[in-house]
């Protein structure tokens, strides 16, 4: 297939990328930073990312004193000669050129590896041609919709063809979805989650604090979109904290989640130190309480009168003022509608069992959607579930029976920095999961608009990163923590549009690429939904009316 020539390689290095002199007449404005391009070397063809564009002049006088008032003829001749442009492209993958010359050979095999695509080990010589990537080039590297775990995630920014995520690899390690507010993180997550459910790659546990994943939400175009419960029916179990919400039309819940004070541990409370206004001594004080009362520490603390506080302090050497302050502040927990004095583990077991059996669980917060509710419940549930997965894994390691092999589990958390900021990442279950990688077959999908608030050790463990536009330099740095070719990718990130354009880097794609995620719309729902869902517009409108009485 003929590719449009853009220029020739004139300089470069393996580390910094190839510098390409653009052909006269090739305007920089027709090229987009971050786009996918091809360099045709003699032995190998290189799949590259456009990382920079530079304007040059051959004579410093053109800079010092730009000539004025020339005709189009003169400016046409000057551009491309004395004034010219350079492109910097970063080769990421390569493939033998003999195979690229033949479309059918180029597309043979199911995966890029089978087609002979390999990571770059060298660079082409001078005057290798930079050409536009064709549809076949894109398909060679990114498109394998027929592979079991491959899911069409979106399309390139400049073409209409499928870009796939390898969801198996996506779930193998923790991942992140980043971007400023409004870039489409939640919608992107919905697309990915729908893919995981559809392809049955593993189980997912979703903490739906903003009320968007279970029952969908209203988009900024004022369209009501379907939630995962609508699309996947009984495959998805929704547990809600908000009793009142549980039986509204169009929002079926499978259970009400309550937690017992006996289930709340020191780590859960310390995680909320800021929200509760706890002092530095709180942790030590809770330690003393736990020593004395075990899992009843919170119940006992809240029941203490001044006398028993005094007695406890005398016995354990605790500071009376600290205990009193702690008691006062933790009353906040007691007041939560969903917090009971004592609960057995049945409900958490039920949730865990459902996950083990291949269902997906969404925790719905309803009106209990303060950061405190979110952090308390998410950490507690996650701790419980991870513990079960740890035990399963240990059992599997002993028995080595395929039947004992834990099902991959991915936990989705919005506002991830709340659990993974550098101060507390080392203490939360989420931090532990992120750091231990896939040891126990549990991974996270963290969603956050401020990745710089997340511990860098956690960030560097992320296998796949999907990021929309970010303005803050620190956030851009954070997203690319531990990634190679950072400078190329940084530019690719900076050049994204504000909405529904992302850069995908890492495990789930053969090489970094800018993608427009699929529209999360009726067409998409019809494709992924298990049971045929009615996605007619008026149907959605009716649900909306019932919900809001509008």
């Amino acid at each position: 297939m003929d590719r449009k020539r853009l220029g020739v390689v004139v300089d470069g290095s393996f580390t910094a990328g190839l510098t390409v002199r653009l052909d006269p007449g090739q305007s920089t404005e027709d090229l987009q930073i971050g786009s996918f391009m091809v360099v045709q070397g003699r032995e190998y063809t290189y799949f590259c990312m456009l990382s920079d564009l530079q304007l040059r002049t051959s004579d410093a006088r053109l800079i010092a004193k730009p000539p004025q008032g020339f005709t189009p003829f003169v400016s046409r001749v000057l551009s491309g000669s004395a004034t010219y442009a350079m492109a910097v492209v970063k080769p990421m993958l390569m493939m033998p050129t003999v195979d690229v010359r033949d479309d059918s050979r180029q597309l043979a095999g199911q995966t890029p590896e089978e087609r002979g695509v390999m990571s770059v080990r060298t660079i082409p010589m001078h005057y290798a041609e930079l050409v536009e990537a064709t549809e076949i080039d894109f398909r060679t590297v990114f498109g394998s919709p027929d592979k079991p775990n491959h899911f069409v995630f979106g399309q390139p920014l400049t073409m209409n063809l499928p870009i796939c995520l390898d969801l198996g690899r996506f779930m193998e390690r923790s991942s992140g979805i980043f971007g400023q507010t409004g870039t489409g993180k939640s919608f992107t997550a919905l697309v990915v989650l729908a893919g995981i459910l559809r392809k049955n790659v593993g189980s997912t546990l979703i903490f739906d604090v903003h009320d968007e994943y279970a029952y969908g939400k209203e988009s900024e175009q004022k369209k009501w979109v379907k939630g995962l419960k609508h699309l996947f029916g009984s495959k998805v179990l929704v547990y809600t904290l908000d009793k009142a919400q549980s039986n509204r039309a169009g929002r079926p819940a499978d259970g009400i989640l309550e937690i017992g004070m006996n289930q709340i541990e020191r780590a859960d409370v310390i995680l909320m130190a800021q929200e509760l206004g706890l002092t530095a001594t709180a942790s030590a004080t809770i330690g003393l309480l736990e020593d004395r009362f075990n899992e009843r520490w919170l119940t006992e603390l809240l029941a203490m009168d001044p006398e028993s506080i005094k007695a406890f302090c005398a016995e354990k050497g605790a500071h009376q003022g600290s205990v009193e302050a702690l008691q006062r502040k933790l009353r906040e927990l007691q007041r939560r509608e969903y917090v009971r004095e004592s609960m057995n583990a049945n409900l958490l077991d039920e949730i865990t069992l459902a996950l083990e059996n291949g269902k997906h669980v969404i925790l719905h917060f309803g009106k209990h959607n303060s950061m405190m509710d979110y952090m308390l419940v998410s950490n507690l549930v996650t701790r419980y579930v991870r513990e079960r997965w740890r035990k399963r894994t240990e059992k599997y390691e002993v028995s080595k029976q395929a039947a004992d092999r834990p099902r991959p589990l991915m936990i989705t958390v919005e506002e991830a920095h709340k659990f993974l900021n550098p101060e507390i990442a080392s203490q939360t279950t989420f931090g532990t999961i992120a750091r231990e990688m896939r040891k126990f077959h549990v991974t996270l999908m963290v969603i956050d608009q401020r990745p710089s608030g997340i511990d860098s050790e956690v960030l560097s463990q992320l296998g796949t990163r999907i990021s929309g536009k970010l303005a803050d330099e620190r956030d851009i740095d954070a997203v690319l923590t531990g990634v190679s070719d950072r400078s190329a990718l940084r530019n690719a990130l900076a050049s994204l549009k504000l909405r529904q354009e992302v850069l995908v880097v890492g495990h789930a794609v053969p090489m970094p690429i800018q993608v427009r995620p699929r529209n999360y719309d009726a067409e998409f729902w019809a494709e992924v939904a298990e049971s045929p869902v009615s996605v007619a517009e008026d149907d959605l409108e009716r649900e909306k009316r019932e919900l809001f009485g509008a």
Partner: protein
């Protein structure tokens, strides 16, 4: 066969000088001419300089006009000037022809002394200038005049001979731009001079 316009009076590998058959009328600056080099071989060159001087280098020209007789009248009154003065032009060889084969390499032999120089017909100009490698030869030659003027003159002349071929002019200008890109003042001098839109 085109018109004989001069006879070679100085010749070496990189340039030759011919005396023009018409006094005061050397071929146009920048025009393509060809010199007989024996049999059916020819040397193509670009006119880079033209001058009219005294035949005897020891005796410079003096004033001949009078208030009632000047310009053309000077020659009518002094027919001997035809013998005292001569017009010479300098040509930079940029290619050759052997039979039907045209090459844009500098010929291995200079054209012979006292052989004839001819003008080139438009078809021949078109044929020769189709490829533009010779522009590099011209731009890098040791010229008796500033390179930008010679190049500008040649481009404008060839553009007209080719019947106002703008595509050719733009390509040629791009080539020149590549050659002169280190020296923008010269480059701009060429571009402004050849600009058909100006």
């Amino acid at each position: 066969m085109t018109e004989r316009i001069g006879e070679i009076i100085e010749t070496d590998s990189f340039m030759f000088v011919a005396e023009s058959f018409t006094l005061n009328r050397p071929p146009a600056l920048g025009s393509l001419v060809k010199a007989q080099a024996g049999g059916d071989t020819w040397v193509y060159g670009v006119v880079a300089f033209g001058e009219t001087v005294s035949v005897d280098p020891g005796r410079g020209a003096v004033r001949r006009s009078r208030p009632d007789a000047y310009d053309e009248a000077v020659y009518t009154r002094h027919p001997e000037l035809e013998h005292l003065l001569h017009t010479k032009f300098t040509v930079i060889p940029v290619g050759s022809r052997a039979g039907a084969r045209v090459s844009q390499r500098i010929p291995s032999q200079p054209p012979p002394m006292h052989y004839s120089v001819y003008a080139c017909a438009p078809d021949e100009v078109r044929e020769f200038s189709e490829r533009r490698l010779y522009l590099r030869t011209l731009a890098t030659a040791e010229l008796p005049a500033p390179v930008e003027h010679v190049l500008a003159a040649h481009l404008t002349w060839a553009y007209e001979q080719r019947g106002g071929d703008e595509a050719w002019l733009e390509q040629a200008a791009l080539e020149v731009a590549g050659l002169l890109q280190q020296d923008v003042e010269r480059l701009l001098a060429v571009l402004y001079a050849v600009d058909p839109e100006a």
